[in-house]
Point group: C2
Chain length 143, copies 2
């Protein structure tokens, strides 16, 4: 299998594990410690794949695990370092809410090949914001 | 010079060129065509380093070119593919405004080594947003 195929399986496998609500399976795609630029503050977080607590807690804020879509995936891989870009969505209904939302956002991941396996070593997820003076996050965009 | 040193010079050289207001010098750090996830919409843009028009127009919205700071730079490089992460700021006064703002944001870049030179081939810049129901962009965070 080519590096591109292996990395595609990592990105799509992570999304599928999220949709099945399995925090440990999601985190198995990551190196033990990585730098995360998340949709929510702070600017930067150090995350640990050995600790499913934060992800499990986040999943519990929805009535069911979010449905996920991965589109426009582009992969650039060398022997042991790669990065991938995509436009992804999550659809979910918050606990206590009665309406499902769908959020489209940009994803850039950095990957490293460790013992023959590609793992996510950095993750940057975001939406842009409107520079019209409102400083609203652009949560209504679609690809 | 190591790949890390060369890439550090790319990231810091780009910031310095921005502060000197030289759009062509900024774009000389990029491959001819790349995918950009910008602070402002849309979700995704194809940009061309041969066309300084959009960057020149953006620079003209400020009274002087933005001052820039690059912090917490981390670089992961293989022979020909690399990615780098940083927390950066820009400080500027909009045309027609009377107050300088400082914005801190996250940056992930993907780089490729082309004819022996490291060039930026992907750029993702963002701030997170508050998930308190306000959907406000987090433009007030500091590292």
């Amino acid at each position: 299998m080519s590096a591109e195929q292996e990395i595609r399986e990592v990105i799509e496998g992570r999304a599928a594990a999220m949709t099945s609500g399995d925090a440990r399976a999601v985190l198995a795609y990551y190196v033990p410690e990585w730098v995360q630029f998340s949709l929510a503050p702070p600017l930067k977080q150090r995350a640990e794949s050995g600790d499913p607590g934060p992800l499990t807690a986040w999943l519990a804020t929805f009535q069911a695990p979010p449905k996920r879509e991965v589109t426009e995936l582009e992969i650039h891989a060398d022997a042991n370092v790669a990065y991938a870009t995509s436009i992804e969505s999550m659809s979910a209904t918050p606990v206590g809410g009665d309406e499902e939302f769908t959020l489209w956002y940009r994803v850039t991941v950095g990957l490293r090949r460790v013992d023959g396996r590609w793992l996510i070593a950095h993750e940057h997820q975001s939406v842009p914001f409107y520079m019209d003076g409102s400083f609203r996050a652009s949560v209504d965009l679609q690809p």
